[in-house]
Symmetry: D2
Subunit: 417 residues, 4 copies
């Protein structure tokens, strides 16, 4: 359905060519300073027309906040918002009337609903993500203010061009049956995750913060554009500063809800957290993240972070990082041998205006979905912690069963009358 989240909940509406797209954000904490600009920043990073790498449609995508805010402060009631579709009249798409676009959603929508929007992607259009990005920006504002959480996504590959540090060089991989192994990720990449900023990311038109790689990616994308073709890529995202304890065993583990969130973004096909698929090749003795005393504070840290900040489905206080794979855009403008809706074989030559590569614009969408997941999990875990804080201390359990640095923390909760 079109709703995501349990306590912090976004519901979206809108197709590519209707009056507007929008969202209702329910469960936002009251008392949060919030202005349209907080939302607009991320919407503008998402919108088309930002460089010659993306689709030339110049949609303004101005957000109109409708409710839930007064004098720049949230009331705790639902925040309604919308962005008008300025280009409601379909024209460029008419050639596709007879043909479902290959690997696009035309045919499956028709199978599912029996009807479909007259043109463009309808509900499967990337315009649907506007509501998510807006909601995510609100969640981010809270997380930053309350926890200092930072969420930064960036392009880590385009086609076969990887950031040099993102993958261990294949030449270092020995014989398959050999136990000699390399780590799943390079030390440089893990280091980058600790410091990368949105400014660094936006400094490159590809949103790959490694300048040299970005140059190669630009060429790759332009080559696809010239060939009326498209190319995929990956986005890596890091969440810094999230508290330990997020994620709800057993079905709503943190990586499970992150994966759900990410694979709900159009054109995504793959998700991995921490060392991911490459980590499956590393023996446990080398892959395990040993514990060390956390510097300058209670609790434990880990020496390495192959787990991606999550163990047993629960955040452990380390950086949470993951990678999302976006397929090459299905809409290409070179002719394709395919079939019409009725099965008649033929050649489809789409026109329209399309992105040869979506990953640069996907960056704020990935950040938004990450923020929605963390926000919801924070609220759920806070409900538990507040409940626990009202109980008397546990005295009957063996010490090894009880958190050693129990929160001297005082009871929050409700005043009693």
């Amino acid at each position: 359905m079109s709703t995501f989240g349990t306590l912090f909940r976004v519901t979206t509406y809108g197709e590519s060519h209707c009056a507007s797209v929008g969202a209702i954000i329910d469960g936002c904490p009251p008392g949060l300073p919030l202005a349209a600009q907080d939302v607009q920043v991320q919407l503008s990073r998402r919108r088309p027309g930002q460089s010659n790498l993306t689709t030339p449609r110049d949609e303004k995508d101005l957000v109109h906040l409708q409710s839930g805010i007064e004098h720049g402060v949230t009331l705790g009631t639902p925040i309604g918002l919308l962005v008008r579709n300025e280009d409601q009249r379909p024209k460029d798409y008419s050639e596709t009337d007879l043909y479902p676009r290959p690997s696009h959603a035309d045919w499956t929508y028709l199978e599912k609903y029996g009807v479909k929007a007259s043109s463009g992607g309808g509900r499967s259009s990337a315009r649907e993500t506007i509501g998510r990005v807006a909601a995510g920006a609100i969640a981010e504002k809270y997380l930053k203010l309350a926890y200092g959480i930072e969420i930064v996504a960036f392009v880590s590959s385009v086609g076969k061009i990887d950031m040099p540090s993102a993958v261990s060089p294949p030449s270092q991989v020995p014989d398959d049956d050999d136990d000699t192994v390399e780590d799943a990720l390079s030390p440089e990449f893990v280091e980058l995750l600790k410091t990368v900023t949105r400014e660094q990311v936006d400094a490159q038109p590809t949103r790959c913060p490694h300048a040299e790689t970005s140059e190669r990616m630009i060429k790759r994308i332009l080559r696809a554009k010239e060939a009326n073709d498209s190319i995929g890529g990956t986005v890596t995202c890091v969440i810094r500063g999230a508290p330990a304890g997020l994620g709800e065993p057993v079905f709503d583990k943190l990586e499970a809800t992150l994966a759900h969130a990410m694979l709900s973004i159009p054109a995504t096909k793959a998700f991995e957290i921490g060392s991911g698929f490459r980590g499956t090749r590393v023996p446990g003795s080398r892959h395990n993240d040993a514990f060390v005393r956390r510097e300058g504070g209670g609790g434990l840290a880990t020496r390495t972070n192959w787990s991606g900040g999550v163990q047993g489905g629960i955040s452990n206080g380390e950086d949470i990082y993951f990678r999302v794979g976006f397929k090459s855009p299905a809409t290409i403008t070179q002719p394709q041998e395919t079939a019409q809706y009725d099965g008649t074989p033929g050649t489809l030559a789409a026109r329209g205006r399309h992105d040869p590569c979506v990953v640069p614009r996907a960056v704020p969408i990935v950040e938004a979905m990450a923020a929605l997941v963390i926000m919801d999990q924070v609220l759920i875990q806070n409900a538990r912690r507040a409940a626990v804080s009202l109980l008397p201390p546990i005295t009957t359990l063996p010490p090894t069963m009880v958190k050693p640095t129990a929160p001297a923390a005082k009871a929050e909760g409700e005043e009693k009358h």
Copy 2:
């Protein structure tokens, strides 16, 4: 939380050392023939002690159905079931009392809840998956009977040992900036997906249906076992015969719910559907799945299936296949330099009985979670189709907006009184 699904819903309980583990399955269609044996088959494939590759604990894992069934037929009411924990007394784990096991859930559970189970994995133990496997077996029974759906999972890699057909040989990958590309998967692998059976899978102790690879995997796992180490791997799963139209835009796309389901399985770190991460490297012109007329039936099929049976988040009637990455088990019996709960550095030498590699036993768990996702989506989509079938035919829309092979199918739904 411990509930998964909307209309077909499983809720589980149980830790590794409590009285029993179990589940309530709500929303099972009434009138389904169902016996304990239907469930037991998959539980027995999941349980430890099946070969010398897995943990030697010999738990019988007999299922006890409690409700929701009479005379071997489901009533439509919740099915309660449980499996007793025969080995409730913890003993082997006491050494770990002072140490949270690295990359295990000990520390994060304590952070989250403030208390933890006295021993073993508690709720994070793989025993928790018993409820899922049981629920999945029930869903599978329905899907097989009603739709002829087949779900088969198998081990596609252990450590660095891949099924030869699973990955394009790296030598064929040309220069990174070159457009010359290979497909994401080999033709042999795609062919295998169309035919592989559980019998073929179970014929190998590794559950990798390729005999020669399986032999290499066995050696790899035994080498890990001898080294008191562990090794990860991947499980690939194919769902054959699922109807088109499954998956709920926009947040509950089929791949999103599959990813959620898979990454809720303990030790998973990665998910990809269809061509997955490798597909991001293939240009759209080569990656798109062109349409052809479906043989012997209405509608369309696709010539290739890089999409993994899902387009726009909705199944298209082709095989649905995906791959899940399982990390190397965290519990190893060689000494690890790490820290105690209170931060004191030291050496942990776990004993206990543990799997050096979990992927063979993970196969039925992956199948179960896949069945739960498909079952729920089938019910939700059927609700829509039944609703549509009661409406008069659409006459006011342009033909290109309406499904051409509209279901002559007659209205199901409700008798009217």
Copy 3:
């Protein structure tokens, strides 16, 4: 939260003085003919200023449909809609700044959220119900078209003025300890439920379809108005033509979800279905609804209908009827001895423009919430029936366990590929 429903789901936003109020309706069956006018009709019945019995604010309440519809037909995607708040500037309410209005939501909102809207009812305002009424109108359109379901609500009492037929005359009630009983409702009232129409209801400014009673109610309301006071009342609602089988045991029984829906309407305090509270006084032998063969069709009907169309939480095909109690509006313009937010005692004299009696305007709101409940339950039950229709006939159960008039009904559901 601000979302209602499982498969047919409405989410609303908006306070009394923000830019707009609106809703997203998710899960509407595709292919439903739908125009703004379908929604506007019920919005106009809800809006203020319809007679001198209600508040004189003249808000146009024009609905703007945003998405989910093309060429007058629903697409199956979310329907976004909004109604602008024309009177956004608060002025009349300033006196209340220091005083929480007694029995209003001012104080509890502040307790809950820590902040509150600057004026008026904010989110607790009756304007919030606009989204519900719009959503309900869409549900109604479907239910009418697909099932012929009719939903009619009307005012059954204002203050102590009951429709004469609604309550057994108290004089007929014998001694408390006597078994001699009267029925819970009069035969005339039960008869009225079978035939009453919206036209009959709207013919009276009070929306009480009994003209003579309506006259008395008008006088009562005007007397309250002149006294700067207010008066409560009840709304009775009947749903005709709903199929048997709606309602989900055990927690989502049909009466439970109806009660939930009704008591979510502002100012409601009471709900009863069928014979309700009065039925608790009638012995089972007289209160039971005996079965008879259903005329002109399969299945059974009941001779009486004290159950209100629901048995065991499931609809039985008879008329579903229930009654909702609305308290006297809390906002009155006579002075009230009360306390300020800080506890200082004083006198509050509200001004503003307020309804002396809300029940006439509550009629379309009750109808809307009833439609939302039935619509959602219809979809859920259809999912089950469609699932069952794909199973082979049951042969192993004793005949008394199987529905005798089993739907020869043919399999709906999915085509198989």
Copy 4:
């Protein structure tokens, strides 16, 4: 479905004659001292055979806790529990094979599911409530310990026999069109709500704490029993000590979720909170609850409490009280003229063992459902409050928009790493 609650969630299974009935309670705060006896107390108050007023089946109803607890303390993981059905063999019910019992769930279950349990009530049996009562007892334990909340239900009427104080004498009700009014409830009754205890309630076999009325009720019930008939009644429940701020606008208002909970109990037909239906007859000027400074603490109290502790759907810190109507039990042992499943008219003479009046046994069920609602709302509101506590103080709003007695209360929430 069979799940209730959002953060504190109970899922139940079981029919009257299967192996066991049980529940999974998910979301219980960790660290709560909990023993089987805490649950057993309420189960024993619910079970049949407690006096000659109820059914003579002597079921032990011993609870078996399965998981989620160690050393008498909850772990925060799901609590599985079950109660065996000792009397699984149906025998007394065979006469009903041909007849659906009037006003019972036999026919509607068959309509809904197409199959039904072979005998007894199946899932519609009151045995299903065992899981709820157990879950409620756990919630109550927490609420008592953390907030000092007390929940007490009692029988307020049987048939036409009301507690004398429960209803204003009808003789005091003047002419219908007269404004002269009495209050909705007597002062004595409102006083009773402040002090009534479970001990006082259990001192009477009817669970009506007014001894004289109880005597009359006993006679009434025995007269029904002798006549092979049945009689209904009402249960009133008060929740003392709940904090202000519970209840989620707009659809999950506190009274809405309470009504949902109560009308999900078998045999219920009516719900009213505070002054309820009678309050609709009292003008606003008399019905409004004026504010006064709360004694010995911050915030406001109300002079009267016609609202039943809820305003705008949110608790205000006053006693929450409501009344639930239970119909006369449908199963009676005198002959009834009705029809068989196939429509054939005839006479049904049920045998079996049945309660002539269910309200005494319903008391702990009402308490349990009340506890489940309050528990869930407490957790949800705590999530919000904890979130707010981490935000900086609001400085930009007019003082009248901000809670004056802002919680100096310090931030709970998460430690930051």
